[in-house]
């Protein structure tokens, strides 16, 4: 191939990738519910651009790499067929599908299913993770890189209600958090080979929260019933530990050096200065109670959805309550941000756009009319929702 043509292709490729903002894991590339790129000029009105069929159930979030959307599903009588699918963001056409068989337990509460944890990506690979604790690495074209069966390795790492903690791609590792009433551990898996770089014991108590990276990507925050630990991504060594208990469903959100966690209501903590192994409590708001959905922080405020389906806004600085807005419904999906607006998806499949700059006024509601428990993904020109049957793209431009 002539070098000039090659150069042109490289430039086009770079240009093409720069046109798209990725959403590489549960609650986005930074695992905080915020998109890589702010959608401009979106008025908050929602319109379905396309919808595509899915071959199985799932609560996992779609993820976005370039112009491709990746979704995981599970199917079969025992939910033991595992699927990874790749769609075109432009028109929803399926580009490829890969199927695997679960090697770990697949029993779950009927509300959830085996495709509950969200996949993750480092921009070059997809790390698909399931309640059976099977972890699959594929390249963006669907070629297999490696496959791990973490419950096949350790048969008592399982939960009869199902697991839900999402995989986290950070640095050269894939971090997984496997906490059950029996054997429990967290591991840093080498993204290139699938080998275990480090493994640490974790509390033996069922937990569904997902690990979240620190702002500099050097540490991973692991929240469990006992509290929150910050762990060194490279070594698995604990850096600091907040030992005052925490919720087991909503995951932490990190802004700069402060983590907002569901503990004694809502608690803001940051690494300690005098004693670096114990974090400093910045504030606690005992009357702000995140339910299943994780908190999200944006533009100086933190937003949570409580068990009554009410979104509450507090300041990041001191937890002062600013406003509350009744959204209606139950929420399993975590809220995300698109174009400076909050998008909350209730379990009935109603996508609700909330204006944070106007005391939580509801701008629009879109009835997708299917049960939806997975957190949506935000791309450059659309928001992606998934149910047990379909993947939807809702235009935001």
């Amino acid at each position: 191939m002539p070098s000039r043509t090659l150069q042109l292709l490289c430039v086009l490729s770079l240009l093409n990738s720069s046109l798209f903002a990725d959403w590489r894991g549960f609650r986005g590339s930074a695992n905080n519910g915020l998109p890589e790129e702010t959608v401009k000029n979106w008025d908050g009105e929602q319109e379905i651009a396309w919808q595509s069929d899915l071959p199985g159930r799932g609560l996992s979030s779609p993820i976005i790499v370039g112009d491709r959307i990746f979704v995981t599903c599970s199917s079969g009588s025992l939910q033991d067929r595992l699927h990874v699918l790749c769609f075109s963001s432009k028109d929803g056409n399926k580009i490829w599908q890969r199927d695997f068989w679960a090697t770990g337990r697949t029993v779950t509460n009927p509300t959830t299913c085996v495709a509950a944890p969200s996949p993750a990506s480092d921009g070059k690979h997809i790390f698909a993770f399931y309640s059976s604790n099977d972890l699959v690495c594929l390249d963006l074209d669907g070629n297999l890189k490696w496959f791990r069966g973490l419950t096949y390795d350790c048969p008592n790492v399982s939960n009869s209600l199902g697991m839900a903690s999402s995989a986290l791609s950070v640095g050269d590792k894939v971090v997984v958090l496997l906490e059950t009433d029996d054997e429990s551990f967290a591991a840093g898996i080498d993204a290139k080979t699938g080998e275990t770089s480090w493994r640490i014991d974790r509390p033996e108590r069922a937990n569904w929260t997902s690990p979240a990276p620190s702002s500099d990507g050097k540490h991973v925050l692991m929240q469990s019933s006992k509290g929150v630990s910050a762990v060194d991504v490279a070594t698995g060594e604990e850096v600091w530990n907040y030992a005052d208990g925490a919720a087991t469903q909503p995951s932490p959100v990190v802004v700069d050096d402060v983590a907002y966690i569901a503990s004694h209501g809502l608690t803001a903590i940051r690494p300690g200065k005098s004693n670096t192994s114990v974090p400093e409590i910045v504030w606690q708001a005992s009357n702000i109670n995140p339910a299943v959905a994780s908190p999200i922080a944006y533009d100086g405020n933190v937003y949570v959805i409580n068990s009554s389906g009410v979104m509450v806004a507090v300041t990041q600085k001191d937890g002062e309550r600013l406003w509350q807005s009744r959204l209606q419904g139950k929420f399993s999906a975590s809220p995300v941000m698109a174009g400076g607006k909050l998008v909350a998806l209730n379990q009935d499949g109603t996508s609700i756009v909330v204006d944070p700059a106007n005391k939580g006024d509801i701008i629009s509601r879109l009835e997708l009319n299917e049960t939806m428990l997975g957190t949506p993904a935000v791309g450059s020109d659309g928001i992606y929702f998934r149910s047990d049957n379909h993947l939807f793209k809702v235009s935001v431009d």
Binding site: G76, S77, L78, R81, W96, R98, D99, F100, W101, T103, R105, V107, N109, D134, V136, L138, G142, N143, L144, K145, W146, F147, R148, G149, Y152, D153, P155, N156, N159, S160, L161, T180, D181, D182, K192, T193, G194, E195, T196, A206
Partner: protein
Amino acid sequence: MNSLFQAVSVLTILAAFSVSLLAADSAKLIETIQAVNKKGAGHAEAVKAVQQLQAMGASTAIPILKAMDNANPLASNWLQGAFESVADQALRANELSAKDLEGFVLDRTHNGRARKLAFDWLTKVDKTAEERMIPNMLDDPSSPLRREAVAQVIQTAEKAKSDDEKEFLYRKALTGAVDRDQVDKIASSLKKLGQTVDLVEQFGFLTAWHVIGPFDNTDMKAFNVAYPPEKEIDLKATYDGKAGKVEWKQYLSDAKDGEFDLAELTEPHKGAIDYAITEFNSPSGQEVEFRLATANAWKLWVNGELVFAREEYHRGMRFDQYIVRGSIKEGKNTFLLKVCQNEQDQDWAQRWAFQFRIVDESGRAVTQAE
């Protein structure tokens, strides 16, 4: 002419040589992948091997499928991923051989999941395959293929005009059905026709057990305490229990879903442990799956050997909740269960029960010899 003949001969030999080299290379790569095992064993080599294998073209498709016959569940998934990559490339290049795939699917000696995989890709190049092949798979040893055949018969039954025809078709579907959702659907349809399905027999639940207890499990401290039934099995013995002497008693559950409800059959003790033992007369020695459902912490011994232990309380009780692979011998086998109840007082934390059955690798219930 002579030199042309020589040139063609040389090229033919070279082509044959390169094909055999390719086959030898792919065989070596497949072996490397088959060596993958628990905790990342063999990954360093297998990661390179799978990358090379996926670039070798359509000729590797059937050898990869065949390799799934002798692969552990992890390696089997590696091979499945490699096959799909190769098959996808071949499909796009119009090089995926329907004939080869169909030959593989029809050979019932191959791994059931590999045959299902081959079938799925066959249907992409032969739109008649499903209609031609599935009706003949109601007795197929491949569980996922048989499931499709059952689904097809159910669908036909739903459209049948007369009740007699419906009943005949649902009964036919039941001969192949092992999955809970399909059996439930058939049983429910037959019920509307005034027919019943014996679910205990269909799923092979073991419902006759000798039980002894309660032993003390206050504060959930006795999961790892070995009470006398873990040391000896003497159905005539008496031991000190939580509230006095205890002895083995025989119970038969008549629950339609095969549940053996300790709280109901004995007493709803809290902070307690019961042991249940039963015998199973197997017609042959075989690899099986022990399938258990319980909301309680439990241990299972098969012929005196501990095969699994799980310390989890009240996270629900669901059909086939635990699947433990193991083996049974020809003739008499003994299954001993330790079923632990804690002291939670919530309404939803009162179950002290189990369902237990044994299935073969296709999911079909293993039944006792006469």
